[in-house]
């Protein structure tokens, strides 16, 4: 694997870290505010207190934090072990995040009709991860055809 694609994995780790922090923040907010106050001019109140904010009692923010954590750890493991299977995982895992983000953004736009900045940030990080994952996939294909 070239230095270039290793840099991409580093970038993915950084983006996943950002997404992780974002999701952890939302999760902490979810659990610390017994009574989440209403904030002016942001859609976060509507979004994070809506029925869609939890699935079977688990806040989706927590699921998001777990997802970003997984990508983060897989990326770091690859940087440590240089195992090709981990690289495959880095290309395909972000598809899960992209699909989840599409679902959550459509929920916000069409059902809840409010946007929460932290959720938009998460949608952006997961989209970035997906694109970087595609680039990794392309680079590997090129390398294989060169061999």
């Amino acid at each position: 694997m070239s230095i270039f694609s290793r840099r991409i994995i580093w970038a993915m780790v950084a983006v996943a870290f950002l997404g992780f922090l974002d999701a952890v923040f939302l999760t902490i907010e979810h659990y610390t505010n017994n009574i989440p106050p209403c904030f002016a001019l942001t859609g976060c109140e509507q979004v994070t207190t809506s029925v869609y904010a939890t699935v079977a009692g688990i806040p989706v923010a927590l699921a998001g934090a777990a997802y970003y954590f997984l990508i983060l750890v897989v990326g770091l493991l690859y940087l440590d072990l240089r195992n090709a299977k981990l690289l495959t995982a880095m290309s395909y895992l972000p598809i899960v995040g992209l699909l989840a983000s599409i679902y959550f953004v459509s929920l916000q736009l069409f059902v809840i009709k409010a946007l929460c900045l932290y959720c938009v940030v998460s949608a952006m990080t997961s989209t970035t991860l997906f694109i970087l994952g595609l680039i990794v996939l392309q680079l590997r294909k090129k390398e294989v055809s060169h061999e």
Partner: protein, 233 residues
């Protein structure tokens, strides 16, 4: 191969082996450092976030917001030196959740406390302003706190209704108010500008969420009844 050569080869292999172990150890040390750094960064940032997330704007002074005015609705003992001010939005679920806590506080410590309720209707809550007007219109007939109670208790019944006015008129009927006067006051400019000026005062003081509680000039954010109750020993 003679003996000397074999000896040389052994020596070479040995040295190579030592070098390899040193290299392996170095590599191992680098890996351990790598994962240690990862661990420290992760734990540190989550800990930092937890601190930021729980940074309640507690005990920050709030300037002129704590001045009691003649326009204010007071519950409890108007002569008490402990003053609790709430900036509330009738449509906000959190304000609804705090409503019984405040009621209990006034009931238990009302002799040593004056509770003041001010309007801070948030723009995303379409029925918050009509609710505020309704409470003030009932106030004209001396029943502000009674209407305040009905509005909060019935929040789920009117918050998503297109025109909540009819429901508030029903509440006025329940309270035995003069309905013609009540309806007239609902649209009165005096009431509108009172609600407007209270909200403006809050915005100027940097308020951006409801409910905001101010106890003796300091912003507080109690999370349960006990924390409320501890304010007044």
């Amino acid at each position: 191969m003679d003996e000397q050569n074999i000896n040389k080869k052994e020596q070479y292999d040995q040295q190579k082996g030592v070098e390899l172990t040193v290299l392996r150890r170095k590599k191992m040390r680098r890996r351990i450092t790598f994962w240690l750094v990862v661990l420290v960064v992760l734990i540190g940032s989550v800990w930092g976030l937890a601190k930021v997330a729980s940074r309640m704007p507690e005990n920050s002074p709030v300037g002129a917001m704590d001045k009691v005015s003649g326009d204010d609705w007071v519950k409890g003992n108007p002569a008490a030196t402990n003053i609790l001010i709430e900036y509330g939005d009738f449509q906000c679920p959190a304000c609804r959740a705090y409503f019984p806590l405040v009621e209990q506080l006034v009931k238990e410590k009302g002799d040593r406390l004056q509770f003041i309720y001010r309007h801070f209707p948030l723009p995303q809550h379409k029925n918050a302003k009509p609710a505020a007007y309704a409470s003030e219109a009932a106030g004209v007939q001396g029943k502000f706190w009674e209407m305040y109670q009905l509005i909060y208790e019935g929040q789920n019944n009117w918050k998503d209704v297109r025109d909540a006015k009819d429901i508030f008129v029903d509440y006025a009927k329940t309270l035995g108010l003069n309905l013609d006067d009540f309806k007239k006051d609902l649209g009165s400019d005096v009431i509108k500008s009172k609600v407007e000026s209270q909200a403006k005062g809050g915005t100027q003081a940097g308020l951006n969420s409801t409910p905001t509680f101010i106890f003796n000039g300091k912003r507080i954010q109690p999370q349960n009844y006990e924390e409320f109750s501890n304010l007044i020993p």
